[in-house]
Symmetry: C2
Subunit: 399 residues, 2 copies
């Protein structure tokens, strides 16, 4: 750890869609600087060198060896996370690894061990648990101002399954489907609010479109240490768009166009199936149009948290507090600094050795819940005990 106020020098592993979505945040934050990248496609590497002037590698290992790199943002496909986190740890680099931590619990365990053995910080993010309204809600809950947390309901209806996909994104065993890329957000949010320690879960999943054969929907009921419970519901097949109940603001914080109804399905229908993976690659760095700065915070669908003396409703701008006699709105600051939460965590970890809640062990705990949803559903809704849960801890100082 280096206790300077110098910008954290970041190497990016993977210049795909995840990086495109993080670019604005890196840009806007003077506390970080992109100094290197690794990507298999020459076009992406050239675009990176062009835009950032840093070194672009064709292997993650080589980039991790670059002494200029202090921390690595791993934004490669899920099933490669383990290899890339291990490479970073070998070279003593701190890590920000995109959610989910990994696809298998075995990989997750190996990553936790690699990080701890090397003494590097591993943060799993960005995920929607870093969204400012989620963190504000957690602060309100932790303050005790409204008594104990009792119940959470989180749901999200999207067209996830009908956006352009690479083939492996529709294969569950490779981390495809909604469990690993979508449930993990919801699990992260709900665990963060509820204190982290899931005890037991029952769930059912849906795999309803033979042309896109993977889990596209689920409902789960999870019980937490202390007695709170939560329902999590997601459909990536959805026609109803739950953003209607989030002020018509989309996941990335943008107001949705009035004429956007059914756009994903329509576009896919008009597409030559052979071209779908290629279309996805037009949404990667070097090809995609840069995203405009959102007007609101990101979000992951409606979340209602019930406490003894108030209910909290998360919005794309903050938290609405419905109290015993009055209601009030508390704004979550920083809509002008997109995704600043995850960069706060990264800078804190690299410069001050303070781990956020979302460590590698935390990522394992959320990954465990995703697997438990699959297992419970496979067993007809049987309860699955959770064994890798960790508490929501903030500001924990590393060894």
């Amino acid at each position: 750890m280096s206790l300077t106020s110098e910008a954290v020098r970041i190497g990016v592993a993977g210049l795909g869609r995840a990086f495109v979505l993080m670019q604005g945040a890196f840009h806007a934050d003077p506390r970080v600087r992109l100094v290197a990248a690794a990507a298999p496609r020459a076009e992406s590497r050239a675009a990176f060198e062009d835009q950032y002037g840093g070194a672009a590698y064709d292997s993650v290992e080589a980039m991790c060896a670059d002494p200029e790199v202090e921390a690595v943002y791993i934004a490669t496909p899920h099933q490669m996370h383990r290899e890339h986190v291990e490479a970073a740890a070998r070279h003593g680099k701190h890590v920000l690894v995109d959610k989910p931590l990994a696809v298998t619990l075995e990989d997750g365990t190996a990553m936790v061990e690699a990080a701890e053995a090397a003494g590097v910080q591993v943060i799993v993010g960005p995920s929607h648990s870093f969204d400012a309204p989620v963190r504000l809600a957690r602060d309100i809950i932790e303050s005790g101002e409204f008594g104990a947390l009792r119940m959470i309901q989180a749901f999200n209806y999207t067209d996830f399954l009908y956006r352009p996909r690479r083939p492996e994104e529709l294969r569950t065993e490779e981390g495809g489907g909604v469990l690993f890329s979508q449930a993990v957000h919801q699990v992260d949010i709900v665990r963060l609010l509820a204190g982290g320690m899931g005890r037991q879960i029952t769930a059912m999943t849906g795999d309803w479109d033979p042309e896109r054969p993977t889990e596209g929907a689920y409902s789960a009921l999870i019980g937490f240490e202390g007695g709170a419970f939560a329902t999590l519901t997601y459909s990536g097949y959805a026609h109803f768009d739950s953003d209607l109940w989030m002020g018509n603001v989309g996941e990335l914080g943008h107001e949705k166009p009035a004429d956007g109804y059914g756009a994903a399905r329509r576009a896919l229908k008009e597409l030559d199936p052979a071209r779908e993976a290629a279309l996805k690659s037009t949404r990667t760095f070097g090809s995609a149009t840069p995203l405009r700065t959102p007007e609101h915070h990101e979000h992951f669908g409606p979340v209602i948290a019930l406490l003894d003396r108030a209910d909290l409703r998360l919005t794309p701008d903050g938290v609405e507090i419905f109290g015993n006699e009055t209601r009030e709105f508390r704004a979550a600051p920083g809509t002008d600094r997109p995704r600043h939460g995850v960069l706060d965590a990264l800078v804190d970890a690299v410069r001050h050795g303070r781990a956020p809640a979302q460590t590698a062990r935390w990522g394992m705990a959320s990954l465990e819940v995703c697997h438990a949803i699959l297992r419970s559903a496979k067993d007809g809704g049987a309860p699955v005990r959770l064994e890798h849960q960790v508490k929501t801890d903030h500001g924990e100082t590393s060894k």
Copy 2:
């Protein structure tokens, strides 16, 4: 059964809050006529005779013996339903019995047997499964127009626990708490939409206010024959009001006043606890101000049903259909005829011998689900198999 078009002559057992809520419907419908009543309070009986000119009895048994009475509407407290249904059956009278059918499954079984032995129709209602938008949604699902039903999410956040209550309404074993008076609506709606045959359920409940010690909230995950599943969530402790997501229309179909926030808790706080039961009785027949005719249909909170090619969102006016490429709204007719659904069913049953879905056996099935929620929650969220389920059948002709 008498095949005339004469108005069905109804005797009312119990002139409490349930009757007040049905009065408008009886008034508005020329196919029914109130000819008798039974109530323990002389004031209620006098008010009935005054308003309707019929005979008012102090015992349900005596009223059932009145030859003028063809059908009995049983609106007495839950735990008295069995005795009163048995009395009606003994006298060969058809029955409309308020939900829930009974509190215990033993009572429910006895009532099914009494009805079948006497050859009388027993309809469990009114419940929100008779609301016109629910029946419209069921028709859309049954038509097959949008493929198979896959998933339902139903939730409702109300101040149920803080409205004025009689003591037994806060004692679970006497049918108090939200399971027997509130869950049963949601279970009825979801079962009706999903075809009726629940297979298994897991649930957690909340009993969070020591001053009102009964279940005030629950979440449940239920699997149906054929693979569809549903989540049901209810909080009667709520501060957040889910009617915000129903166009700010309340359960009874009225638009909510802008300044109504927190009214139930405020009123209760200002009340001498000893007067609470008395306050409840001011909401009964003879004391309550008649309700104004609602502008919309009744509802029981947001319900989203996912089908293969559309999602249905129930509103207080009909069903919004979110299709693959377009969305449309289908109005449910009859907002000018409040609760006409349950009276359609009653007239059909008495005059044409056609049973609705909501028979005594149906009521047993919904009651079973309520008990299963309690049992699963008591066992820490263990799955409970359902054994008394019946299909959603319409227009079944009686023997």
